[in-house]
């Protein structure tokens, strides 16, 4: 339960965190392209450093342009605070590193973005943090994977690229029973389609690079602190020392006691932004703010095009299979309707008849859709994960993540649906030719 604004989301995206400044009356959020901020005097500087006064010190930690984006994201997700980062991956790393130390453990959904799987399964392991991967809808398996040293549960709202829909309320209940925060990467759903905090999640991660930015021009990430997890309950066996124990580099501050609901975001700001320095630049924050302003208009069009394209592909004889949570064949269709009533995003995947070579022919014949490693652009994007984003995963991990070798991922844009279909028709014809030759052989 969290409520951070009385405005509707469309209004939050345009107004929250900034009113025209008193000096110049700038209507648009200004870009504060500065590294640092002058102290009024020595005592003012000291007070800022000791959290006796709010304000900006150095743009690695906070920046006024970035803060507007943070406050809008917090309000949109119904959180108590937000820390923006240089990328979605840095948001994930920062969150994991802020809650876990060497010897700790994470339970993660198996169906997640390839780089996140690598971060959890390889990189963090090097620092003594182990992860157990479990099918996101195997709730008993998730319960069984929880250990004494587990510090968080992790999943994506809609898995990338398998498109499994996570049952956030059920996972939150598992977390609550085990006194574990549920950290959710909600990049694929965006705040327009789903608010995981209202469904029980405790921390929400976004790659702002994707639909929120929308124009494919800026990398950025966000960590939204739900403020709805009781970090310091003394009656629980599981404790969270990074949030609740005195923090020596900051006069022994106890973030939980000092800041309560916003303890995690304050801790992330004080330690991770200072030490890791994965800062979002004010210029990028400005571009991302432009995207956020129109997100509520773009997402319905993304969803409409994705659902229509999925149905159209399903009927095409060159297509072997299609995957989108809106389709009757999707195992989580009912769950998607319940948790994402306005649409389950604009990523779909499919395989063409003729396997890997036919798929490659499809990709190379496209003229409108772009073959690249990104999603969430307003333009339609396509990718073959098996040879790119998930290429570092072995066959077993690929299978566990729900990725077949022939899978083509489509991030459906907001172009005219007629033009997207025309482009895909060209690709499917090329795929059919290759498949026919292969069959003849």
């Amino acid at each position: 339960m969290s409520k951070s604004s009385f405005f509707d989301p469309q209004t939050i995206a345009l107004h929250t965190g900034y009113q025209p400044d008193s000096e110049h009356g700038s209507r648009a959020v200004p870009i504060y392209q500065t590294t640092s901020y002058a102290f009024q005097d020595v005592s003012h500087g000291a007070a800022l450093f000791n959290v006796e006064r709010g304000g900006h010190i150095y743009s690695r930690m906070t920046n006024p342009t970035v803060a507007v984006l943070e406050q809008r994201m917090a309000a949109l997700e119904g959180g108590v605070g937000c820390v923006c980062t240089a990328s979605g991956m840095s948001a994930l790393f920062t969150t994991f590193a802020s809650l876990c130390s060497a010897g700790d453990h994470i339970v993660s959904a198996a169906q997640i973005y390839g780089s996140t799987a690598t971060l959890l399964g390889h990189t963090l392991r090097r620092f003594g943090i182990e992860t157990t991967f479990v099918d996101v809808n195997d709730h008993q398996g998730i319960k069984d994977a929880i250990q004494e040293n587990t510090k968080l549960l992790f999943c994506e709202t809609i898995g990338n690229p398998s498109l499994d829909v996570a049952d956030i309320p059920a996972l939150a209940k598992i977390g609550e029973e085990a006194h574990l925060p549920l950290v959710v990467d909600a990049t694929f759903s965006t705040p327009v389609l789903q608010n995981p905090i209202s469904q029980g999640a405790n921390v929400v991660i976004h790659s702002l690079t994707k639909w929120i930015g929308g124009s494919g021009n800026s990398i950025g990430g966000a960590i939204v602190d739900g403020g709805n997890f009781e970090w310091g309950d003394p009656d629980k066996d599981r404790q969270f020392p990074t949030v609740c124990e005195p923090y020596t580099p900051f006069h022994g501050i106890n973030f939980y006691e000092e800041f309560g609901p916003s303890a995690l975001s304050m801790r992330i700001r004080a330690e991770s932004m200072r030490d890791f320095g994965s800062t979002l630049s004010p210029q990028n924050a400005f571009y991302l703010l432009q995207g956020l302003e129109s997100l509520s208009l773009r997402m319905p069009k993304h969803v409409e095009n994705a659902e229509s394209l999925a149905q159209w592909l399903l009927k095409n004889e060159a297509v072997d299979w299609v995957n989108h949570p809106s389709l009757d064949s999707h195992p989580n269709k009912d769950l998607a309707k319940e948790l994402l009533p306005n649409g389950a995003g604009s990523i779909l995947s499919f395989g063409v008849k003729g396997g890997r070579q036919a798929g490659a022919a499809f990709m190379d014949a496209l003229q409108l859709a772009t073959n690249l490693a990104n999603v969430g652009d307003s333009r339609t994007l396509v990718l073959h994960p098996g040879s790119t984003t998930h290429s570092r995963m072995d066959a077993e991990a690929m299978k566990a993540a729900g990725i077949s070798e022939d899978l083509i991922r489509v991030s459906v844009g907001i172009e005219s649906l007629r033009d997207i279909k025309g482009d895909f028709s060209r690709g499917l014809k090329a795929a059919q030719k290759v498949a026919a030759v292969a069959q003849g052989e």
Binding site: M1, K3, S4, V80, G252
Partner: protein, 263 residues
């Protein structure tokens, strides 16, 4: 710091420094449904500038266990029990809203132990709307909605935050939804000794009021000023609502500094 008082575990924030009763003590008292975090910035300044700070969570609030106290008089009694336990002989009292009523009552019962009193967003009485009182009992989230809507001024309704990246409305929501709001509002509603208490207070007094305060309108705060004998600081802040310590933390701190450090 954690203490036991009346066989209940309670929490008292000390501004990030060890409590030392040899230093002059400043006591910060939170408003209805809130807790010590209302004073996060102000308590740290005093604690790091030669004062000892006590900012308790009243019983049943946030980190303090126990049953919520149901009258302002009981809260004042509880406060003196706490100060006795911490061996504080004399202190400066700072109270916001309901915390201001507790400060008034506490100062009136032991005027010799009060070095100064600062009343923020406060009046001699804080009558509570009957509908608000009713929904605080039947539908607390709706009551919290109403209080945050009425409590915060325009800038904060627009998502302003003095701490970059934070959402004060969301923080307020989390704290107030989990605290005994109905008991607090009932205590405010039935408290009628404010004017009498104000007249008994002899120590220097400060009032920090807000132009856009819709919970305790500024004219009611001015009325309280008229009842106090020794008002040496009366501040009225522009473009600020009822949540003064959160909405205008720097101005609030500056005024507290100027008043308390010069007594």
């Amino acid at each position: 710091m954690k203490l036991t008082l009346n066989n209940e575990n309670i929490y008292v924030a000390t501004g990030g420094q060890e409590f030392d009763n040899s230093l002059p003590t400043v006591v910060f008292l939170h408003g209805s449904g809130l807790d010590h975090r209302s004073w996060a910035l102000q308590t740290r300044w005093f604690a790091f500038h030669g004062y000892s700070v006590i900012a308790p969570d009243f019983p049943g609030h946030s980190l303090s266990k126990g049953k919520a106290l149901d009258s302002i008089e009981d809260m004042a009694d509880w406060l003196w029990q706490l100060l006795d336990k911490m061996d504080v002989k004399v202190c400066s009292l700072v109270g916001h809203s309901q915390g201001g009523l507790v400060a008034l009552e506490a100062a009136a019962t032991h005027p010799d132990r009060v070095r100064s009193i600062s009343l923020i967003g406060c009046a001699a009485a804080i009558p509570v709307n009957e509908h608000l009182l009713a929904i605080a009992e039947s539908d607390q989230p709706a009551a919290v909605d109403a209080m945050l809507t009425w409590g915060f001024g325009e800038a904060y309704q627009f998502g302003r935050s003095h701490v970059p990246g934070q959402a004060p409305m969301g923080i307020g929501w989390q704290i107030m939804c989990n605290n005994p709001l109905h008991a607090d509002l009932s205590a405010c509603q039935k408290y009628s000794n404010g004017e009498n208490a104000a007249q008994k207070i002899t120590s220097p007094a400060q009032l920090i009021l807000a132009e856009n305060d819709r919970m305790t309108p500024i004219k009611m705060g001015r009325g309280l000023t008229a009842q106090l004998q020794n008002v040496s600081s009366h501040i009225e802040l522009d473009k600020v609502g009822h949540m003064i310590p959160i909405e205008a933390p720097e101005k609030c701190l500056s005024e507290l500094q100027a008043f308390i450090t010069n007594i």
